[in-house]
């Protein structure tokens, strides 16, 4: 069995890393905080030109026809730079949901999603506050067990402040005249599939965020001197970061496994995603905590970029299902009467 990513997937990751690393600096993120939308239209255009908006759109609609496994490494890179644009939601949750809804709606919107002309945002009922609803060209919203496909004007928004200035959160009220596009069993199936994709996107971004915070901390502790030595040379400091590195390394395999399960629409995808999100967000949470510790008082300040990544990690931990929710999902799997557990079931 070959569990490694293929040459194309790694090449895409490298290309996207180069682009994001060059283009999305903390200064650019900070500049967007002061704008009305908090979003950078020029950046979205660049992402679309790179082909990222159409990555998961089927080829017949102008996309690359790729899946969650192809996108997971790219989502990690998005996390690494704390990308504020709603690319992960669009490519990993919105576009696949639109495909699942099918029909005239998909025919009309998928080509626009492929070129980046339209941002497709998906939001579950449990996401009471919807991120990026204000820039969604098509908002696929679950409310009261039904799915709505909404364009601007078909819903009203009430802004809610966030501790993370990169996040724009809204309470969404659907206009009375709008009819749902899915309900009943179909809506429930779509809900489960979308939950898995959205939570997977969070998990992958959390891996990137954790890595970024470790990298920042290693850089800082290699530079900052005390008693004539870099503080990173002291056990009490470097062990903090080593613990994060270990936690992060152990979280990678579950996230990649979950991406495979989602891409293959495997029966155990829900459990795999819940495990992945728990482990990745725990790694990111530990990275945030320990990075603050090793930065000392500097880590708390607005001027140091650490808080940008830390706040995003905190936010991701509580969207698309918080830790309690995902622990229950895993418990439900383990304690089920027909649970298939043990070494022999690892790759089922």
């Amino acid at each position: 069995m070959d569990f490694t990513f293929n040459e194309d997937q790694l090449l895409f990751q490298e290309s996207v890393r180069e682009f994001l690393g060059n283009e999305i600096t903390p200064e650019r993120l900070r500049a967007a905080w002061d704008t009305d939308t908090g979003r950078d239209p020029a950046l979205w255009t660049q992402l679309a030109e790179l082909g990222l908006a159409g990555l998961t759109v089927p080829e017949e609609h102008g996309g690359l026809g790729m899946n969650a496994l192809d996108f997971v490494l790219l989502a990690q890179e998005c996390g690494y730079v704390a990308l504020a644009e709603p690319l992960v939601n669009h490519a990993l949750a919105g576009v696949p949901l639109l495909q699942d809804l099918g029909g005239a709606l998909a025919e009309a919107w998928l080509p626009k999603a492929a070129t980046g002309e339209a941002r497709i945002i998906a939001a579950l009922e449990q996401n009471l506050l919807v991120e990026d609803a204000h820039v969604a060209d098509l908002l696929l919203l679950e409310r009261a067990g039904q799915w709505y496909a909404l364009t601007q004007g078909e819903f009203s928004l009430q802004h809610n402040a966030s501790v993370d200035p990169s996040r724009r959160l809204f309470t969404v009220t659907v206009n009375d005249a709008v009819q749902p596009v899915a309900s009943g069993d179909q809506a429930r199936r779509l809900r489960l599939a979308t939950l898995n994709r959205g939570a997977l996107g969070c998990a992958a971004q959390a891996l990137g965020l954790a890595q970024r915070m470790v990298d920042m901390s290693v850089l800082y502790t290699s530079d900052r001197q005390q008693f004539g030595k870099p503080i990173g040379s002291f056990q009490a400091v470097k062990h903090h970061l080593a613990n994060v590195a270990v936690r992060l390394e152990y979280a990678k395999a579950p996230v990649h496994r979950a991406a495979y399960a989602v891409a293959e629409d495997a029966a155990g995808a829900g459990q795999a995603v819940s495990q992945a999100k728990l482990m990745a967000c725990e790694a990111a949470g530990l990275a945030a905590k320990n990075s603050i510790q090793v930065h000392g008082a500097m880590g708390y300040t607005w001027e140091v970029d650490l808080h940008i990544f830390m706040k995003k990690a905190w936010a991701l931990a509580n969207t698309w299902g918080d830790a309690g929710f995902h622990k229950q999902q895993v418990a439900g799997h383990i304690f089920a009467d027909d649970a298939v557990l043990g070494a022999g079931a690892t790759f089922q």
Binding site: L11, F12, V16, L50, G51, L52, G54, L55, L64
Partner: protein, 250 residues
């Protein structure tokens, strides 16, 4: 118009290079390699000429060991139409590379050859000029702007104290300066397409060129480490040190 672009595989510009322990060469183990930034500018310019309808075909050529094909694929992803790899092992000095490129020029007969003005590893700044001499073609080096007008190529060069504009008859050679353009990123669909583009492999023998080296590299060592600074007590001490230790004022 057919345009030939040379691309070189070098250590990525973000990597801090280290000398090997025995001082024989730069340590390339597990080091990220990339297309030379000046060559990337050359590819971008060629692709822009094609997009403007001036060039009909852009060919990316690289000389070196097999991994150079990665950089050719990058050039293809950026918009080149096909690639040529001249497979040659070992350290290749600029004259050898220029001779091999001359062999490719003889085969392909391009109207324009664009190269980076230098590579960021060797910093030789010789290959383009040598190729110009070997191929008996006019050259515009350190180009910051080029424009094809009929059978002429106008090149604006960055020279000490200003700009120089040359008019070259085609076929010609151009080497790129940093300000010629800002290279694009390869899009993901184009990275996929690049894998299907034609890539021909030649040996130096195919081109009738001997890769005999005339230059031996004797030693590679890192620059001397900068000494820690000191705080001076007052201006008088500063002046004294500048005068007697640094000897920068008299």
């Amino acid at each position: 118009m057919k345009v030939l672009v040379a691309v070189k595989r070098v250590v990525d510009y973000n990597v801090k290079v280290r000398a090997k322990g025995d001082g024989t060469d730069v340590d390339l183990n597990n080091v990220k390699m990339a297309i030379n930034p000046f060559c990337e500018i050359a590819v971008e310019e060629a692709v822009r000429l094609k997009e403007a309808g001036v060039a009909t075909e852009v060919i990316a050529v690289s000389v070196g060991a097999k991994p150079c094909q990665e950089q050719i694929r990058t050039a293809l992803a950026l918009g080149a139409d096909r690639g040529i790899h001249v497979e040659a092992e070992g350290r290749l000095e600029p004259l050898v590379i220029a001779k091999l490129l001359k062999g490719v020029v003889d085969k392909e007969e391009p109207q324009l050859v664009i190269l980076g003005k230098q590579s960021i590893d060797g910093d030789n700044n010789q290959t383009g000029q040598m190729l110009g001499a070997l191929a008996n073609m006019p050259q515009g080096t350190f180009a910051s702007e080029i424009k094809v007008e009929g059978d002429k190529l106008n090149v604006i060069r960055e020279v000490d104290g200003g700009l120089q504009t040359l008019s070259l008859s085609l076929p010609a050679i151009v080497t790129t300066d940093l300000r010629l353009n800002e290279p694009r990123y390869a899009s993901l669909p184009n990275i996929m397409k690049a894998k299907k583009k034609q890539l021909d492999v030649y040996t130096p023998e195919d081109l009738g060129v001997s890769v005999t080296s005339h230059v031996s590299q004797l030693k590679v060592e890192p620059p001397a480490e900068r000494k820690a600074g000191i705080k001076v007590e007052d201006v008088a001490q500063l002046v004294d040190k500048l005068k007697n230790e640094a000897k920068v004022i008299s």
